[in-house]
């Protein structure tokens, strides 16, 4: 596993120690999105197909902005 690069986070945040809190908050939001996608999903049907990319609803995430 690569090491947590504290210096990098220092460049990006006021308090690099807060990155874990930020990450948990982001995951909480992703969790909400995942739950929304799975709602009413027919999991039996999706497991039966070989092309899981194409069956049923999935979550599309588009990340945009400055890098």
């Amino acid at each position: 596993m690569s090491r947590f690069d504290r210096k990098l986070y220092e460049q990006k945040t006021d308090d690099p120690d807060d990155v874990m809190a930020d990450m948990r908050d982001a995951i909480r939001q992703l969790h909400e999105w995942f739950k929304e996608v799975e709602k009413n999903e027919d999991r039996t049907r999706s497991k039966a197909t070989t092309d899981s990319q194409a069956s049923g609803d999935g979550l599309l995430i588009i990340v945009d902005g400055d890098q």
């Binding site: 504290r6 999105w33 599309l60 588009i62």
Partner: protein, 192 residues
């Protein structure tokens, strides 16, 4: 663009793929009307992107090329920019209610920077795919798709969604998040 965005859509990839070559010009007209503000914003981006007037493409033209299956490798960037508009029409946009838009803030990190933290949190499905581009649309295969770097589009199939939900549930229910957070802090202290 000076702000950061992360958009989430509940979407059936098949519905999106079916648009290519559908000749559904009514769909395009409906989209242009229904999302006119976003269309205008992206048209502005296209104007900035074009080096010469001859290279200028509008959102309307890019959408038409996709539904009429007249794709051009010169318009890889334009098709990707239109993905947001298509996803909003074909799927359901999901609201980002994270604190201070934390989710959007995370896009400023490269995937390799975030992976150790996500791994520590036990969310391997997210770690594997965050900022990983796996959407070929509107192309059939990678050879056709050409190269584009931004914006990044990631599709979590319903199987991956199931895995991610399971991992999130485990990391929460076992209270590992707190333990792993302490591990990370200790690692930070050692590396200072």
């Amino acid at each position: 663009m000076s702000e950061n965005y992360v958009f989430g859509f509940k979407l059936n990839m098949q519905s999106l793929v079916r648009l290519r070559g559908s000749k559904d010009t009514q769909f395009v007209e409906g989209l242009l009307k229904a999302d006119s503000d976003s269309v205008k914003e992206i048209d502005d981006l296209f104007r900035d992107y074009a080096d010469r007037p001859a290279e200028l493409l509008t959102v309307s033209q890019a959408l038409e090329e996709m539904v009429m299956n007249r794709l051009s490798k010169d318009h890889v960037y334009h098709y990707r920019r239109c993905l947001e508009l298509l996803a909003r029409r074909v799927g359901t946009e999901l609201r980002d209610e994270s604190r201070s838009r934390t989710l959007a803030f995370l896009q400023s990190f490269w995937p390799s920077d975030l992976k150790p933290v996500l791994d520590l949190l036990g969310v391997k499905a997210i770690a594997r795919l965050w900022l990983y581009d796996n959407v070929l649309f509107p192309w059939d295969n990678e050879a056709e798709a050409g190269e584009f770097e931004w914006p990044v589009a990631t599709y979590y199939s319903n199987v991956v969604v199931g895995q991610a939900l399971s991992e999130i549930w485990k990391s929460r229910s076992s209270k590992d998040v707190q333990v792993r957070s302490e591990t990370l802090r200790a690692e930070n202290r050692r590396s200072r």
